[in-house]
Amino acid sequence: MNSNNIKLSINKLDLFYGDNQALKNIKMDIKEKKVTALIGPSGCGKSTFLRTLNRMNDLIENVTIKGQIEVDGEDIYKSNDVIKLRTKVGMVFQKPNPFPMSIYDNVSYGPRTQGIKDKKKLDKIVEESLKGAAIWDEVKDRLKSSALGLSGGQQQRICIARAIAMKPEVILMDEPTSALDPISTSKVEELIESLKDDYTIVIVTHNMQQAARISDDTAFFLNGEVVEFSDTKTMFTNPDDKRTEDYITGRFG
């Protein structure tokens, strides 16, 4: 398989919250089985952009979207099958949002809605996913207790586990390690590393080192625009744009 296949192709994307333009003329090609990092200052539109990729912004009122987003060559805003899209494109949110259910039910939720009923299979998926999200050891004895009684970082990892339990093709991660300690962080980074073989990953991060460490491509957002988008090495060693350089080196603002 050509590892430079384009999985997601974004073109002339504009997004408005009411009259407020949050994304301006975004153009980006996201490669299959690569990790693409989105960086940029708070409020620049990273989450907004990420949420357009699986049409999560459909749920917010007063949002207008123009332009094109293609997944596997298909315009996702033309197709009606959002569900298929979201099965294909999984997501971990910025604020951890476990369901008010047990840990087990949280993680098995996706597979169950896909129609998997076999208890053994579900058990296996739950275990694998929790291990993958580096939280199995902490919760294996309390799988039946509520996910809401977990610490912030634990909740975040439950949400990661929930997303990978679906085995989507693309995983969108909005600051998945922001609430994690260095060890869990490195475990999640390892996870991302290994997932790369099979998944296309788009990750928002505020951690430059993390972006540099794990991503293949990086996009730098500023005020709703993509200032620079290139492979990570180039961006971190030899950025095109002065603003990118300033941001990466922390001289910005």
Partner: protein
Amino acid sequence: MRKLKENILKLLVYLSAAFTVTTLVVIVGYIFVQGIGGINPTFLFSDYSSSGDGGILPMIVTTLYTVALSIAVATPIGVLAAIYLQEYAKKGKMVTAIRFATESLAGIPSIIYGLFGGIFFVVTLGMRYSILSGSLTVAIIILPVIIRTTEEALKTVPQSYREASLALGSTKFQTLYKVVLPSAIPGILSGLILSVGRVIGESAAILLTAGTVAQMPGGIFDSARTLTVHAYLLTKEKGDISGAASIGIVLIIMVLLLNTIAKVIAKKLNKANY
């Protein structure tokens, strides 16, 4: 200054609660004092007789029929309609208009529903005076309550739950069924409990649609008299206040039982919720 304001507010909260509780105690107390004398096994468990020494068994049975039937009809329609309005329909003039109509209908006196039911169900649809006609009529009466309380309950479910579920490729329906509804159960339940109260307490609308036949109903196609209609006729025609109060006691106990059952069922349904 801050302390003073705070204490005044606190006082108001306590006073209000005290007012409510006092009202409750006084009303229930009054009903018990007036009615307890009339409560005996014959009154509760024997058939009605116009001579006055019979019981209210037929009315108890009729009331249970009416509650069961009207709740069974109105709950699914009301809850599902609320789901449609809140989760599916495009927010806009249409939904606002429907909501407004619904709310305004909640204030129309039930006797008008009774007259409507008396023409629509009893005559036009040929159901005649029957428990069925009565139940369908009160089902319409409680529809606004169920719709509105369900809508509110749905609104309180955090959007992040929906997002999380949808992002996992669940359909809207799965999201509703597995995440949203379980979280909304308490709100829906309070609507249902209010509705049960409304059905049980209804007289005018039922009188004009289910009729007043004081006999044990053989089925839902029979005309019959509910407890409240009976109490109504007793006070209105005979001025028999203690008789009405005795019925009141039976109704209070019935409401208590029904509410408990509703809560137990809801708890079962709600097992997904922590």
